[in-house]
Symmetry: C2
Subunit: 272 residues, 2 copies
């Protein structure tokens, strides 16, 4: 349970002050904060409140979305990532998760180049702030407009292209990568290269009714979560296991009961 | 236009007799027949009617779905594929497209093994009937229950494991593989190894509202269809370009007008 983290988006109907009360009651020790949860709050207040609640701020979600058709729009994206770095620094979040972005109709090769350039542009600020960046490969069903980085191999290639700075790594989310035949090998490589920056869990439901918001609670679907988690640990990862679920169905339920279910599911997953 | 083919499923509301009248009016020269369109018909009648309409029967959709939890269910799948081979032979279809199958919760490695075994079991009958088989890699979003073969690389690996029989190849559907960073290289390999058995086109819409039935008409989405088509041709493919679209939205429209739109979209795509 020492590694049990939940994303604020997982219980989207709760405001962050409620998360800070409800998460620790279920044995949660880490919180990943989505930027929209910060609206109207002083960042340093949230940092203090999280510490008072006994929660580590594991990461800030999310930066990225670097590709765009015009240079002006790409600069806007860079500026927004610089703001995210400031936020993460103020919150005491050691990491920003990058959903890298894609532009429908623009070649994925070009988008990956723009992603690499975008990360390079914000990297000095991130390093100065002591904030790491994690490229999150997204499932290929998001290659149209969310991410041109769809496999761990591609994430590694971007890290390589940047010269393998220690501050840039990978966020492994089982939902996005479970199908990848190279997964174990790429996780091993991420361990060896110091790039295992984050680990996210949820499940894949059959049938999945919505491309975005029909993810499952662990155990509701077909992903070999525990096996992948063991691969990640064997590769040297010791950070939090972050429960990140987008689900219209689960958001419509009582969120305190849902948190009980998450805790129960997490416990079953890791009890042996 | 000599390579213009449409799948019966693309105009699902039309019965096959209507397809045989309407397709040729738009310059279509090939038809791929889905098995449900044959219900209640004599296969040899359909063969004659297609020939009378001036349409080549390009392939039969679909065989596959080999993996199952029990040996008895795997045998049922094999029997069904043997029936599909009989059907294809009777129809004069030179090819069966395989949607290979997957079982939620069963490892993808095990499912791919069962797929390989299933193809091996039906291969002698296919060869005797002069019917080829095409493994269709399906998009990773179908890895839960439709196909454990999600990339062209995996399809090649299964062909290799079978000893590279000339009768087993690959069906390239842009919808499933457009995101794959290895796509061109794997198409080239398929050309060199004589495995380019079929080429399917449609488009990926943003946003996609349904995992199964929200595919787009060519031009409605973000796929670089013409570029992929040119790769396939450069690799030596000279067969039909098959329009295969599943869309609740388009099925709800007048199918004769929809066929006009398909012809217009196909013409734009290949006019230069």
């Amino acid at each position: 349970m020492k590694r049990f983290c939940i994303h604020t988006i997982t219980t989207k109907p709760l405001i962050i002050e409620e998360c800070l009360i409800e998460f620790p009651k279920r044995g949660v020790t880490g919180i990943t904060i989505w930027r929209q949860a910060l609206e109207g709050r002083e960042w340093t207040d949230v940092r203090r409140q999280a510490a008072d609640a006994g929660l580590d701020v594991v990461s800030l979600c999310r930066g990225g979305f670097f590709p765009a058709k015009t240079a002006a729009d790409r600069q806007t994206a860079i500026d927004d990532n610089l703001k995210a770095i400031e936020q993460a620094h103020a919150l005491g979040a050691p990491l920003i998760v990058l959903v890298c972005g894609a532009v429908p109709g623009q070649s994925l090769v070009e988008s990956r180049k723009q992603i690499t350039d975008g990360i390079a542009a914000v990297l000095p600020a991130a390093e100065q702030a002591g904030v790491k960046l994690a490229i999150e490969p997204l499932h290929p069903m998001y290659a149209d407009d969310r991410s041109a980085v769809n496999t761990m191999r591609q994430a590694h290639e971007i890290c390589d292209a940047l010269g393998s700075p220690t501050s840039v790594g990978i966020a492994v989310d089982v939902y996005h990568v479970w199908w990848d035949p190279e997964l174990k090998q790429q996780i091993d490589l991420a361990g060896k290269t110091g790039r295992l920056h984050a680990f996210h869990i949820c499940d894949w439901r059959t049938p999945t009714m919505d491309l975005l918001n029909d993810r499952g609670l662990m155990g509701e679907g077909c992903i070999n979560i525990r096996e992948i988690s063991d691969w990640v640990d064997a590769a040297g990862f010791t950070g939090h296991r972050e429960v990140e679920i987008f689900s219209d169905r689960l958001w419509a339920t009582d969120q305190r009961r849902f948190l009980d279910q998450i805790a129960s599911s997490y416990t079953s997953l890791y009890q042996s």
